[in-house]
């Protein structure tokens, strides 16, 4: 069976520091999969390797059974890989609408059109507005991204990724730094996403992880410690020791 995403013996070192060690990872089609682990475990680095933002030291990456280890970021996006950033990465001074429309235009192959005004491309704008509406951002379309409250900025992160109509979506701490009331809101939107999208979520909030994920991978110092359904992970003593213990007194 084809996996939506797969890695084989993926390794990454920054000089003497090893942040990924022989990671064998599989994401099923339509998965709700969480990647957890203490700070500095290498989660973001793993995502950056999957998207092609940084190159692995060794190992292989497959998207839907196609090897993409050396493929450009742009080509991986065209193959259906979307992501959000742990540190909000928006077009800060641009309107929220444009933030999403830029992604939609890239996906549609319209981003290189040079003649008709962007604001006359109704198809791009309508699709972007519709997407914003499903995330409860309809009223914020005209505001500059930087003027939105932080919780909404995190939703714009998600909206941009959804504008690519990804088959695989990598969410790097979508609720990072958000007050708990807004975390709930973000989670509800994530739960509504199409079952056809395979989602890998990185998250520190254990409530959120256990509610959302059907499968959990625990990463510690660049190595997969254990992988399994939530109940098993919750019961695993090693996980408690290295991770959950830390998280409770963090």
């Amino acid at each position: 069976m084809a996996f939506a995403l797969q890695t084989e013996k993926l390794c990454k070192s920054f000089g003497a520091l090893t942040v990924a060690e022989q990671i064998d990872f599989r994401l099923e089609p339509g998965a709700r999969h969480a990647l957890i682990g203490p700070n500095g475990a290498g989660k973001t680095t793993f995502v950056n390797m999957l998207t092609g933002a940084i190159a692995p030291t060794s190992g292989k990456i497959f998207l839907n059974d196609q090897e993409v280890t050396r493929t450009s970021q742009a080509a991986r996006v065209r193959l259906g890989l979307g992501r959000t950033f742990q540190i909000t990465t928006l077009f800060r001074s641009l309107p929220v609408l444009d933030n999403v429309a830029l992604a939609v235009a890239e996906r549609r192959g319209d981003a290189q059109r040079m003649w008709r005004p962007a604001s006359a491309h109704r198809e791009i704008i309508d699709e972007s507005l519709e997407l914003l509406a499903t995330l409860g951002l309809a009223d914020d379309a005209a505001a500059a991204a930087q003027d939105l409250p932080y919780g909404k900025q995190r939703l714009v992160e998600v909206a941009i990724a959804l504008g690519l109509r990804p088959k695989v979506l990598l969410l790097d701490e979508p609720a990072a730094g958000v007050p708990s009331a807004d975390t709930e809101k973000i989670l509800r939107h994530l739960e509504k996403l199409s079952a056809e999208i395979a989602i890998l979520i990185i998250e520190h909030d254990m409530d959120l992880v256990f509610r959302f994920a059907q499968r959990i991978t625990v990463l510690v110092q660049g190595q997969v410690l254990v992988e399994g359904p939530p109940e098993e992970i919750a019961a695993d003593k090693r996980v408690r020791d290295v991770y959950l213990g830390e998280a409770t007194h963090a």
């Binding site: 998207t51 933002a53 450009s72 970021q73 742009a74 991986r76 996006v77 065209r78 992501r83 950033f85 990465t89 928006l90 077009f91 800060r92 001074s93 641009l94 309107p95 609408l97 444009d98 429309a101 830029l102 992604a103 235009a105 890239e106 996906r107 319209d110 981003a111 290189q112 059109r113 040079m114 003649w115 008709r116 005004p117 962007a118 604001s119 006359a120 491309h121 791009i124 704008i125 972007s128 379309a141 005209a142 941009i160 504008g163 690519l164």
Partner: protein, 332 residues
């Protein structure tokens, strides 16, 4: 403001430059050669604004394309004896475009200071080549004997510079129209995206590098055409079209006018070249002092350039006006 939320209709203020140019033509006939020079530098500044103001490519080497265009137009006449103005323009555009692709493909993989140094190196090399290849370029004496046939076989370049002025005005109008189209298009919005957040552009699947090469080439072509216009209106090319100095000048003009605002490229050259014409003749020793002071003032107090300042004042005035009228309405 370009992009998907922009109102792209032409505002009445956008006609002002053209009305001003028309008035200049009729009211100041003795200054038409200065006028043509200003129009050429506006076109040059516009090409720089496209890459610097919109795509965020920082360069100190834009004179490479301007100068190459200028020399190409001249050499086509002196070496190949082709004096048809449009052929000279096309040759300059093509050669500048080629240099744009070739150098862009190499240097646009780099960023920031490295990129700045590479752009500077390229125009410095061209300057040295132009200086040494005397047989082709005339070296330090400049390239004289450039001939330009009447435009469309009819409009001769006259002594008063009337034809030259109108010729440059039409070229600028076309250039402005193309740039305006570009920046309001999805392509322009995409360029703004690269300037605002390159990491995000990569993550939404934009082949950023190729897009930069593309816009760099378009800009190089325009700069090359501007250079060719300078040759055709002067019927001479000097070494001063290449190297750091003209690159710096055009950058200063654009910063003065306002970067990334389209019309900053119009205001900057007007202010700079008129001030230069006046000051540099009468007080040559104070000219650079004056322009330096002006630049410091603009960078410190009006980071949006002269045009940014105008926008700010207008917004202030508008909000004051609104307050007053609403106060009057509530008093009633």
């Amino acid at each position: 403001m370009s992009g998907y939320s922009a109102d792209t209709r032409i505002r009445w203020t956008e006609w002002l430059p053209w009305v001003a140019a028309g008035a200049f033509f009729f009211l100041l006939p003795e200054y038409l050669s200065l006028g043509a020079r200003i129009l050429i530098f506006i076109l040059f500044a516009l090409s720089l604004d496209l890459i610097l103001g919109y795509a965020g490519i920082i360069t100190l080497g834009h004179s490479a394309f301007f100068g190459l265009g200028a020399y190409t137009a001249g050499i086509v006449s002196t070496q190949l004896a082709i004096n048809e103005p449009f052929v000279q323009l096309a040759a300059a555009a093509a050669v500048a475009a080629l240099l744009g692709v070739a150098t862009g493909a190499v240097i646009l993989r780099t960023r920031a200071l490295t990129l700045l140094m590479l752009t500077l190196a390229i125009t410095a090399i061209l300057l040295e080549v132009a200086n040494k290849a005397t047989w082709l370029t005339g070296g330090a004496d400049g390239l004289s004997g450039v001939k330009v046939d009447p435009i469309l076989g009819f409009f001769r370049f006259d002594l008063y510079g009337r034809t030259a002025f109108l010729y440059c005005l039409i070229a600028l109008f076309l250039g402005w129209w193309v740039v305006r189209r570009l920046i309001y298009s999805p392509f322009g919005a995409m360029l703004t995206g690269i300037r605002e957040n390159t990491t995000r552009m990569h993550a939404i699947g934009a082949p950023v590098y190729w897009r930069l090469v593309l816009v760099y080439t378009i800009s190089a072509t325009m700069a090359g055409i501007a250079g060719a216009l300078l040759t055709q209106t002067n019927q001479f090319v000097g070494l001063n079209v290449l190297g750091l100095e003209p690159s710096g000048d055009i950058l200063v003009m654009l910063i003065l006018g306002g970067v990334g605002r389209l019309y900053g490229a119009f205001i900057g050259p007007v202010v700079y070249l008129i001030a230069q014409d006046y000051l540099a003749k009468q007080y040559p020793e104070y000219w650079y002092f004056g322009i330096g002071t002006l630049l410091i003032a603009v960078v410190l107090f009006a980071p949006g350039g002269i045009l940014g300042m105008v926008d700010k004042l207008r917004d202030k005035w508008l909000s004051l006006y609104k307050q007053k009228s609403s106060a009057r309405a509530s008093a009633r």
